[in-house]
Symmetry: C2
Subunit: 213 residues, 2 copies
DNA sequence: GCTTCGGTAGTCAAGTTTGATTACCAGTTT
DNA sequence: AAACTGGTAATCAAACTTGACTACCGAAGC
């Protein structure tokens, strides 16, 4: 799964109605250009595709006052809602090891009820464990791990990564169960989008971490 | 960076001369279809692209004895060698967090001298640290991390991941410095390809870990 | 002797991603 | 007032990826 659909659906959904540039801006606000493939081309493509598939409804709108070409506003459809939650649940549970999907999942998890988020994360840990066992079973040759030579280091990396992730997930579950954050149906939701005219504190001009990579 | 070029160059290089199917088989032997986008289409595409770019030299060959369409054999050119080592060094040092690049880097690191591998890995750790600092600096708002709400968990995940990786890298450096594995210029290299006619123990039919994901 | 099956080797269309580029307007300089 | 700068909004070609499909041969089974 690529994270772009989840991100775009989530952004449109939080706005109620949004055009491409708005989505693009939100994703930048969330830092998504740093940890996902959220380039303009991908975003506009995703919007069009999902409109074609009936997940979004497109409204043709006159050119904005702020200049630029005529823009299209999108609104999420019931089918889109459904897809959104399906993607979100999948992103939270499946052990996929891609940063973009994980980060998006965390960003949107509060759209689910608290109990469900916890349950999904626990399922995630179960799957990590399962995967870990499968790797261990499958890749250790009869003559012991030494036989693999330096290739064994790859397996070692995977196991290390899996353990670190399970660890992290357990930590987050603890905080959620301890009452942290505001989930669906618990009053004022966390505001995660820029309202019209609001300054984006993370806009270009600042130094971003990926510059250092 | 996508890992496919590194993988294909490395495979061709180890063979001296190889056709697409051989490369494809090696990658399967290494388990690459599980942790990278090494599908047949991508492999053949990469071979053709790199041949066009002068990184590989293509020899048109008559149909094999084993049936099938006429095949093309590829050989790495000096430019290809150079590109290979550039990609490999980059994969080892840059903190890229993609499993495929990392795994490929480990698989091929023994093509470098031992001292250089260690130096590159140390540089990797330095960059992870640098990245970690940048994230911490940049994403902590004035009002303390609590202001971020659940979004702070994303940052937390990154830091957790970065620490786990630095940890792992330090472990591997220790083993390498302790004399483990056989690096370039140290005698008989580790055999990482299937020779003609050899059975692939990981060929289809077995259960692979990703089935469980 | 014929048919089926599995392995060998590769192509292709459809979809996705990338990075550069366009076009427009408002405000600011020169 | 003409030229420049920067933000808004989007498009496009080229490259890459995906998954299904083709074509061929040898061996095993009936």
């Amino acid at each position: 799964m690529s994270a772009i659909r989840l991100l775009v659906l989530g952004a449109v959904r939080q706005h109620g109605r949004a055009h491409g540039y708005q989505v693009r801006n939100d994703l930048e606000y969330w830092g998504a250009h740093e940890w996902s493939n959220a380039k303009p081309g991908s975003i506009y493509h995703a919007l069009k595709q999902m409109a074609k598939q009936g997940l979004l409804h497109a409204h043709e709108i006159a050119p904005s006052t702020a200049g630029g070409p005529p823009r299209t506003e999108y609104e999420i459809t019931p089918a889109g809602e459904q897809e959104y939650f399906a993607l979100l649940r999948d992103a939270l549970t499946s052990y996929d090891q891609k940063v973009d999907v994980k980060s998006a999942a965390i960003g949107f998890m509060v759209d689910l009820p608290r109990a469900e988020a916890v349950a999904l994360l626990k399922e995630r840990i179960r799957r990590i464990q399962e995967w870990r066992d499968a790797v261990t079973d499958h890749y250790v040759p009869e003559g012991g791990p030494e036989q693999l030579g330096h290739i064994g280091e790859i397996m070692n990396l995977w196991l290390h990564t899996a353990d670190a992730e399970a660890d992290w997930a357990r930590g987050m579950i603890g905080r959620i169960e301890g009452g942290a954050y505001t989930f669906a149906g618990e009053g004022e939701p966390f505001v995660g989008v820029l309202t019209e005219g609001e300054q984006n504190p993370y806009a270009t001009g600042e130094r971003h971490p990926e510059d250092a990579r």
